[in-house]
Amino acid sequence: MLKNTKTSFKIGGSVGIIILLLGITVMFGMYQMSKVSNEIIEISQEYAPLNEIVSDVKFQKSTQTTSIEKIIRYTDSNNLLEIEKAKEEFWLSGEIIDSDIERGKNIVNVGMDMAKSEKSVEEFRTLFQKISNIKTTHEQYEILIGDLFLELNYLKLNDDLLKQILSIENQLEMELDGMLALLSTLADESTNQIEDNERDSLTGQIIIISIVGTIAAALGFFISQINNDLKKEVDLKTKELKTANEKLKELDRMKDEFIEIASHELKSPLQPILGFAELAKSGDIDQKEAWDGVLQLTSKLQDLANAVLDVSKIESDRLELQLEKIKINDLILGITKSQKINLKKPVIIRENLDENIQVEIDKMRIEQVLRNLLNNAMKFTTRGTISIDTHVYQDENKIQIKISDTGLGIPEEILPKIFEKFVTKGIKNMEQSGTGLGLFLCKGIIQAHGGEITAQNKFDVGAIFEFSIPILQKNKIMNPSQLSINKKL
């Protein structure tokens, strides 16, 4: 579950990153574009009117030159009317030039305010200087022309003055051409700069889109890998679920089978109990005979009910052990003593016991195992010997207990599943029959102690049941997983 959530986060995160990067790229591109248009484009827009103004100044200046030429010419012919007309034209053009220069200065000032980069500010300073120079030169020019007009009133032409006027005219012309050339250069530069910036911006965007594309491709690959992992995870989980389901089905089948058999075993003694009651009631049999039979059968029923309860505890890992330190030989001898008293067959019970050490066990449960194994041995042994051997392995922290008999032995077809439930039913006659659960419980109890139990036939005659358990329990509280009774044998 956690793993799946993690994978979902991976996919969600990757998609989120792609969308975020694309968004950043678009935003960056837009920002770049707006940056270019705000500064450079606005500045470049200032150059065009300046160019017009300077061109107009140049035109007005040429008009003034023409007016001067007219004045000189009409002075020669003494045409006073035309002279005055030409003078008016001259001063009108002069006013236009002054006005143009003021407008130009204003435009340069506005441009200087807008300029953010140092280079732009420097350019506008140069333009301001040039336009100021033009103004100064033009003022000097007009002063000289004023002097010229005064002299012409006296019908004189001062050659020096004319030379000065010509010189300053040339200077003005040069300054105007210089400014036009500068404006043309700046306009070209700004156009180039816009193009360069646009190119840079485009290149940047292409680089970013390429990077994002590469990242997206990498993430796509990564997501496909995650998808493969996810698929593998799902396949694995499906397989696990399938196995678990099959196991559950098998357990369910085993449980049903157990309930069916247990129910049969619990109902079976009821038939003779009912029979005894009917026959005693009708007077067909003796009351004592009936009661003895009923008591024997109810005792068997009780044993079976207890065994079924124990099976349920073992199968649900709820078998609790009351561990205590018990002298093992004392326990064994106590059991064999009572068995010997009840012995009605030519059978000898022999104990070959190792050191009488203290073993940490659930006394009642181990006693249950020993009694069960001894009872089985006695049921199937008509004559001979039943031996109980113990071996203490201190180094290995274990004691081995072996019960062997000279009885019928275990049928070969039963041997591999001897410790399963109810498998021993059907191989015994009435005297030998038990609950069919005894050996299953023995195995469960021994495994709960952390030990193991085995069964085998002897080469000649009889069977051997052997179990080993730890002398001291490593964990006082039994781990339920150790109680699994479906392991080998």
Partner: protein, 128 residues
């Protein structure tokens, strides 16, 4: 009338025998599936040809869960030999599971579900 009773519980078989004999039946007993077939075959050998199909016993009362050979297996063998032999299963097992066991013919086998009254058993045997 002849009844073959196959039952592994000593008390139960004694009770069947007692009550059947009291009601005038001749009772042959068997304690496991193999003994049941042995007794059945012995009786079969003494049959005359006319009675071969209906079998040597009027009724075979048989437990299902017995040592050596199950009741179901024994019944299959009996019915193969004598298809009209009347058989009554007396079992503590679920009836459906007995009827679905391999080799048991559903139509021809009667069932007594344990535990039952001995009077019920007599009544069942007497009813045909």
């Amino acid at each position: 009338m002849n009844v073959l009773v196959a039952e592994d519980n000593l008390f139960t078989i004694q009770q069947y025998k007692h009550v059947l004999e009291k009601n005038g039946y001749s009772v042959t007993t068997a304690r496991d599936g193999e003994e049941c077939m042995q007794k059945y075959n012995e009786a079969f050998l003494s049959l005359d040809t006319e009675s071969i199909e209906s079998g040597p016993f009027d009724v075979v009362l048989i437990d299902n869960n017995m040592p050596k050979k199950s009741g179901a297996e024994a019944v299959r063998e009996i019915l193969e030999r004598c298809p009209n032999q009347r058989v009554i299963f007396a079992s503590a097992y679920n009836i459906n599971s007995i009827l679905s066991a391999p080799g048991v013919l559903k139509d021809s086998v009667e069932v007594l579900q344990k535990p039952f009254s001995l009077n019920t058993m007599i009544a069942k045997i007497q009813t045909k």
